[in-house]
């Protein structure tokens, strides 16, 4: 009876040792496969064509239809317009970057694709009122570098 137990135990030990060695073979194999991580600040992955970064605007294309303001789930867009010799002109287009959830609904709903999402993803600010952006002034995203692939 004891011999059967010893045989069974040694069989388990051998199978166990063999499975441990198989595990070691995998890690050794991976040891020689070249590493694939990016050294982030030096190497950056260019963003794909459809990447949704910060919201941006071509002011001339906008026909002030308020579709984007209506569709935004977190209400971070706000437009004010005034009537000037029978033509509507945008007086103010505020974008609250802090609330934005980068869902891309405004970009899809805009009939003239005036509002679109650019490729900036490294967004950090020191004080909160930096997050309230006026989309009309062209130099709004200077401090965050643009990593678009174009």
């Amino acid at each position: 009876m004891v011999i059967i137990k010893i045989i069974k135990l040694s069989k388990d030990l051998v199978i166990g040792a063999w499975s441990l060695i198989k595990g070691l073979v995998i890690t050794l194999k991976n040891c020689f496969i070249p590493a694939i991580t990016l050294q982030y600040p030096a190497q950056k992955q260019p963003m794909t064509g459809r990447f949704r970064g910060l919201v941006d605007l071509h002011p001339e294309k906008c026909i002030i239809c308020y579709q984007c303001v209506k569709i935004c789930p977190v209400a971070c867009l706000a437009i004010a317009h005034k009537q000037e010799n029978n033509k509507k002109v945008i007086s103010e287009f505020k974008y609250n970057m802090e609330l934005c959830c980068f869902c891309g609904m405004c970009q899809q709903v805009c009939p003239t694709s005036a509002i679109y999402m650019n490729k900036i993803y490294e967004i950090s600010v020191y004080d909160r009122d930096k997050t309230h952006i006026n989309l009309l002034n062209p130099g709004k995203y200077i401090e965050w570098l643009n990593t678009s692939i174009k």
Binding site: A17, R50, C72, P73
Partner: protein, 373 residues
């Protein structure tokens, strides 16, 4: 240890607080353990740390505006959440969607299932002590899926890709070669995991017969998904209540024998292989057509109630939507699989050691974003 012998030894149970900030509670979950030495006498779970009351938010959002919120439910498999919600609303509006959109949804959902299972396997191995090596292998594979999704819909985690009646974009040009290359790459990697983890004696010793979930207890707790199939119940919504094009695709359901932590891991590993098969077939049979849909129109469904459940990587995700004719849902109840899967934990853990509770929690693959809603 009957009490007669321990008259002189004054052993005292001490309370230990595992969480809400703990390396292996998969998110913000607090477990109060009453320990006798290493043995766990009793465990109570405190959840709700990540409660954003999604259901109250849903009552103030139109049907289209709520789609980005469903990404944040089960943030590891947000394609499946989108699909679940969007299909529920389509059933409410009884809207038919184009065939190509159905196939694209199946491809996206299955790829996301593989990514979610990879995370489940990686963190399970990490919890058992195989520090970081299997986790990094799983993340390396998952990175390839994330790149595919980045090309399809532009985001890496919260995709917001599906719309009511279709999808946002059509698949980009060279994407099916990329997916085929990924499928071939992934098949060899899954066999590697078999060698590295599945039959490793320490891994077996740590997870075999730990956290035994018998079949009837699992059904009684309405556990669903891989945890239920690991207990021997052959129940998968994609097969038993087929939706989209799952009845046209040929795949089988892995089922475990005795419902312990090892079986739950093994079922997830097999499901990755099955999902690869599904994606391959769906990619082959992709019909032509225009899956995209405009989102300007505000949907106003007639007052009615529907309940629809889909097979999420973690279990059955159900949406109970009650509409009252306005553009906003009157009530939107989200039945989250992790909520019921977590309810089983205190029952499984009595009398085991601390190392086992970490192992069972890892094998149940709980996600707090979904549990707390």
């Amino acid at each position: 240890m009957n009490t007669s012998q321990t008259k002189d030894i004054c052993t005292e149970e001490f309370l230990i607080n595992m969480g809400p900030q703990h390396p292996s509670t998969h998110g913000v979950l607090s477990l109060e353990l009453k320990l006798d030495g290493e043995m766990i006498r009793d465990c109570t779970a405190h959840i709700g740390y990540l409660h954003r009351s999604m259901e109250k938010l849903a009552e103030n959002r139109t049907y289209t505006q709520f789609i980005p919120y469903t990404d944040r439910l089960d943030y590891v498999a947000s394609m499946n959440n989108n699909m679940g919600y969007v299909m529920a609303v389509e059933k409410l509006l009884n809207l038919e969607i184009s065939d190509r959109a159905k196939y694209i949804r199946v491809i996206a959902a299955e790829l996301n299932r593989i990514a979610s299972h990879l995370i489940a396997i990686g963190t399970f191995a990490q919890d058992l002590g195989a520090f970081a090596t299997p986790l990094f292998y799983c993340f390396r594979e998952r990175e390839k899926i994330i790149d595919i999704f980045d090309q399809i819909c532009g985001n890496r985690l919260t995709y917001n890709y599906m719309r009511i009646g279709g999808v946002q974009f059509d698949l980009p040009k060279g994407i099916d070669e990329k997916i085929k290359k990924f499928i071939k790459y992934m098949r060899s990697k899954v066999d590697d995991y078999d060698w590295l983890l599945t039959y490793n004696t320490i891994f077996l010793a740590r997870s075999k017969h730990i956290g035994l979930l018998p079949k009837d207890l699992a059904i009684n707790y309405s556990v669903s998904g891989p945890n239920l199939r690991a207990s021997g119940v052959k129940w998968d919504l994609r097969k038993d209540e087929p939706y989209l094009v799952y009845e046209k695709l040929e795949f089988d359901i892995p089922v475990g024998e005795n419902g312990d932590s090892w079986d739950r891991y093994k079922v997830r590993l097999e499901e990755i292989r099955q999902s690869l098969k599904i994606v391959e077939q769906a990619l082959g049979a992709l019909p032509e057509g225009d899956p995209t849909v405009k989102i300007g129109r505000i949907h106003k469904p007639s007052p009615s109630e529907i309940y629809l459940r889909t097979e999420n990587p973690r279990g059955e995700l159900g949406f109970f939507i009650i509409s009252d004719g306005s553009a906003y849902p009157y009530r939107l109840k989200i039945r989250s699989p992790s909520f019921s899967n977590l309810a089983v934990l205190p029952e499984l853990v009595k009398g085991l050691k601390i190392a086992d509770i970490v192992c069972i929690l890892g094998s149940l693959d709980i996600l707090m974003g979904e549990t707390d809603r």
